[in-house]
Symmetry: C2
Subunit: 396 residues, 2 copies
């Protein structure tokens, strides 16, 4: 009698969440310092001081009815203007105030986009391994979820992508820096993908929308110029969140911005507004919207994540582990020591290591290590990784 799909989404929380809970129970049992929990992508670094300072300033100085009042459903005009101006300056983009929509984080940006664009049966392509909520968001918008495996180095495999193309493909989602691999797409990849999609747009005679999910955009540790998709592909949208860069995941503040060169951009923006309305979004928190102009361009102290990455990769390499190059986000994608990653993480648990199997991300044989944790936990975990390696070497 209920909507069984929704019951399923609600009663089967993600494996990530389950493993996190298991690690918590284990901590209660054997002591927090003896458990190495790498399960959750939850920022461990404080927000920059400017966040709380600006919040207090706003609360003290703004007239309360306006501070806490409704904004336009697309967002506070001054906030929209500030974001657009920042993006244009930082990425050489040519975005416009009238095509940005403030959202409850990147998640809402994605659900709003899919509900705006998808008609029942349209297909949504993602690259595996992928953030598992993409499946939930696609299905619940009426779309068909089409994961396409990446290459061995976790780049887009254009042959596989080609094999998946068909007239029903409406949206392609990319996520760079990537969860779970830590890969960052280069300009070369974005250009190649843009050319590829334009070819199929002509062939099918309809737009194929490129949705770039960018919550980790500022978390890049190597010298890579970030290619902002609207500079390369007209039918593109960017979903952003301040969750990771400012360590504000619980405040749910982000935005969705459309390329002004998009085909029928006005109509698409209307559909975005309509989808926001239909899903029950009225406006993003007025206080947090008003915060944004004060914090644009600031980030938490990201060098801590870089330190973690450098230390962890150096030590794991010494132990003989193989992993993907983690240039961004705060994830290391480690090759499991047996082909079945689920079996592997269960063995790892015996050494109090909690890792997420790649099966959760639609791929085989790897685990995700979230290194947005305290450095000392990483240090304490290395002997456990050593024992885990020895465990598998003894089996040879």
């Amino acid at each position: 009698m209920l909507n069984e799909k929704m019951k399923e989404y609600g009663s089967s929380p993600s494996i990530i969440r389950q493993l996190f809970e298991e690690a918590k129970s284990k901590k209660a049992l054997i002591g927090e310092s003896n458990v190495y929990d790498f399960t959750i992508g939850n920022p461990s670094i404080e927000p920059p001081k400017v966040v709380n300072e600006a919040l207090i300033k706003l609360i003290r100085e703004l007239e309360p009815i306006s501070l806490h009042g409704y904004t336009s459903s697309t967002g506070d005009p001054a906030t929209k203007k500030a974001i657009i101006s920042y993006l244009n300056k930082t990425y050489g983009a040519a975005l416009r105030d009238e095509y940005i929509y403030l959202t409850m984080g990147a998640a809402a940006g994605i659900t709003i986009t899919l509900n705006a664009l998808i008609n029942k049966g349209d297909e949504v392509i993602v690259f595996a391994p992928y953030f598992p909520e993409y499946r939930v968001y696609t299905e619940s918008s009426g779309g068909i979820f089409r994961p396409v495996d990446t290459s061995e180095s976790f780049d887009i495999d254009f042959l596989k992508l080609e094999a998946s193309m068909n007239e029903k493909v409406k949206v392609v989602i990319i996520n760079s820096p990537n969860n779970p691999t830590g890969a960052v797409y280069t300009e070369e990849i974005i250009i190649k993908l843009s050319n590829f999609l334009r070819k199929y747009e002509k062939e099918y005679n309809h737009p194929i929308y490129l949705l770039s999910d960018e919550p980790y955009r500022e978390l890049i540790y190597d010298d890579i110029k970030y290619p902002f998709v609207t500079n390369y592909y007209d039918n593109s949208l960017v979903a952003y969140s301040f969750s990771k860069s400012l360590s504000l995941p619980g405040e749910r503040i982000g935005y969705l911005v459309l390329s002004p060169k998009m085909e029928n951009v006005k109509d698409v923006f209307y559909a975005v507004c309509g989808a926001g309305r239909a899903l029950g979004y009225i406006c993003q928190s007025s206080l947090f919207q008003k915060l944004i102009p004060y914090v644009l361009g600031h980030t938490s102290n990201m060098s801590e994540y870089k330190d973690n990455r450098d230390y962890l990769t150096k030590e794991l390499k010494k132990l003989g582990y193989e992993f993907a190059n983690s240039s961004g986000a705060f994830y290391l994608y480690l090759k499991a020591l047996e082909s079945d990653a689920v079996k592997f993480i269960n063995i790892a648990k015996e050494y109090n290591l909690y890792l997420v199997p790649s099966d959760s991300f639609g791929a085989k044989g790897y685990v995700r290590i979230a290194y947005c944790v305290k450095k000392d936990m990483i240090e304490r975990s290395i002997p456990a990784f050593k024992k885990l390696m020895e465990h598998y070497e003894a089996l040879k």
Copy 2:
């Protein structure tokens, strides 16, 4: 190629919003003090001081990673506990912490409920006049929208309700205090409705869910004991928002609570969690969740709204207007001076009075006056109401 329904929702903003914009343009033209804008239900009274004081205290004293971090998707445990305890104490309810879900205002509570319960083709009954977004929320969840006219005194008309009942009815939405009529349902009505629905639940052999949309619950000016629906009907849910009582509409903080006696309550709650997930809600703003325990039971100074109501009704009565008894919310439902309310509001505009026709709420022959405005604007508007009455008297 887009989702045309979403484009329609986004490109046809509500008539209320259009009239509000018209009034704004008129103000720019002839001066703010010469326009009497009664269009928008936007609180005009400051939040109680405790709100900003508690926000500053939280920002100063809580560890920032936890202050702004993810909470559980259902909400912060201490906040959920505080709300449940407050509701149980205030309304003699027997609610439980595990069946409350913090939401982005009441709107999200409604979309989440409908997406959780509705399978394509299920029917949702509302009582006309109704809040117009109910239609959008119902259609976009796949449901069929079934408005049922109320009686002449805007009570539930049980004969009409009976005529609309059929096996596909899954949800009945009530809204008391009511937007747009200002009516407050008595205990007697809630008991009668509960008995009525139970009879049909037996006949159809499936639950009929009663969803009570209660953003105006604390805005009651007459001596009416508020009947909390979970005390009367097991298959009931309450969607609440702190928008109106605390004058925080832009912060989007509210909750959805289920009767623990609901049939298969665990499964329904799973479906609620799943719908929240599928719509892109991760958690409600962590800062505003943590605010709630400090502000429960507080309200803005509601006596200002009562003063407005008392003054406005006294003066309009003197002028010969007829209207529904406005016991709550901040709306007066006034009988138009001709049968076509849209024509009537256009005549009213000639006297710089901006009123919302009942057609927007699925009903004929009335206008909504939002009296959540400054008292002096009401005072200045009375001569305009007088001229409007004279305009129609001259036509007789």
